[in-house]
């Protein structure tokens, strides 16, 4: 009888600490608005006030903008998300090793989720009471004009917070990213709420397109 009871209780304890929500705020937009364009000015301000959530539950995660529907038509917010922060939502499945990006036009872009080739450095700093290590990731991209460029992303992660989930389309660091410099935007993890119940994550359903085809489609437009 006792073993039976244990068997019933045990899976509950296991699942208990595996879901939650991490809030990311934008602390800085590193953009020199030389032209003093008023639209850009307001979108920089909008970007700075944006927050994002990384929701996770049992090896699934969902990264999304905390805006709600009402602000979807607001032009400076859209511009800010497209040019400075994140215009897409990202779903990741750690067990199936899949990622789906839902772009602003509603397309579901699917790709294999591989741990990225982060370059760890020996630079460390303390964020709050957590010892963080600096990691960089450099990738190449092709612009619409068929030019290639490289961009480096800088992440400060805390091994003491071993959540295996990452913001945006990143993956593979041994600890939660507390600070992320991605393009012009600096994201800071400000709050981690851990829930005892599994959170339902609605994996997007519908027709998906792979990343290669999507980039080709975009470039044709």
């Amino acid at each position: 009888m006792r073993t039976l009871l244990l068997l019933v209780v045990f899976p509950v304890i296991c699942a208990a600490q595996n879901s939650g929500k991490i809030t990311y705020s934008i602390s800085d937009i590193d953009f020199d608005n030389k032209s003093k364009n008023a639209d850009i000015e307001t979108s920089v301000a909008s970007a700075k006030s944006q927050t994002f959530t990384l929701e996770f539950s049992d090896n699934l995660s969902h990264f999304f903008y905390n805006g709600g529907m009402d602000s979807a038509d607001d032009f400076p917010t859209k511009l800010a998300r497209a040019s400075f922060t994140s215009a897409s939502d990202y779903y990741q499945d750690k067990t199936k090793k899949l990622q789906i990006e839902t772009t602003s036009d509603g397309t579901l872009v699917q790709k294999n989720l591989e741990p990225l080739k982060w370059q760890l450095t020996s630079d460390t700093k303390k964020i709050d009471k957590y010892q963080c290590y600096k990691a960089t990731y450099t990738y190449t991209f092709t612009t619409r004009a068929q030019k290639t460029g490289t961009r480096t992303v800088v992440a400060w992660f805390a091994p003491e917070l071993p959540f295996p989930y990452d913001p945006k389309a990143y993956s593979g660091l041994p600890g939660l990213i507390l600070e992320l410099k991605d393009g012009a935007a600096t994201y800071l993890a400000t709050k981690i709420a851990i829930s005892e119940k599994a959170l339902p994550i609605d994996w997007p359903r519908g027709k998906t397109i792979n990343e290669q085809d999507y980039l080709e489609k975009i470039n044709k437009q």
């Binding site: 600490q17 370059q119 020996s122 460390t124 295996p164 660091l173 041994p174 981690i192």
Partner: protein
Amino acid sequence: MPSCVRFFLFVMLFTTSSGSLAQTVAGKVMDKQAKPLDFANVMAIETTGSTPPMFSTTSADGKYTFELDNTKSYEIRVSYIGFIGQTHLLEAGFQSMSHNFVLESSGELLDEIVIAHAKPVDVRKDTITFNVASFANGTELKMKEILEKLPGVEVGKNGTVTVNGKTVTQLLVEGNLFFGGGSKLAVENIPADALDKIEIIDHFSQDGFMKQVSDSEELALNVKLKEDKKDFVFGDVRTNEKNDGFVVGCPFQAVLDPECQSPPLF
């Protein structure tokens, strides 16, 4: 002895005695019920911190693996949410090995963690405050190297400090003039790791009460020290290369204790 065994021993001799070959350190991470923990974080941190750490994430069956240089020592650290982390020390000279980690549940249920990020720069009226930790990477020795990393701050060859092109005229430590307020002595001697915050105060006046009415042209730089570094020994001790017992060039040694500094004159 059959020749194949002899050959095997011969090979063993070479593989085990070879000096700095990369060694494989692998194992499993599991809980007390021997259930493998997947996506556990395993880090190999070189103990001197001079080479970047390496990491491995456990597979579905809880396995991790590292290729490590055995001329160095490492700490293998394992962490998993809801479990107590563990560290295994590898002393230099280790051989390829297997080490399993059996983690114990931390018993405590985490609820909410709020992470406070220090603001790198804070501008208030005439004062700009730089939070040193946001700019330093830990390799700086003297205050000068920190100042050079702050935006808009420059240090001249003769130790003069300029902020956005304007020269600092008063140098204070914890609000008191530092040896007469000259900046050269301070920037070249105050150890970088003692600094907590740097304040740049425009239109500075020693008398707080007069500040509202005076139109001072003074630009002050106030150094705020870390709580545990409030009194420090500074200056350099250098030995010559031969190290034949002489301590050469000890140009300046002083102990700073804010309480012993002369109070401002009235």
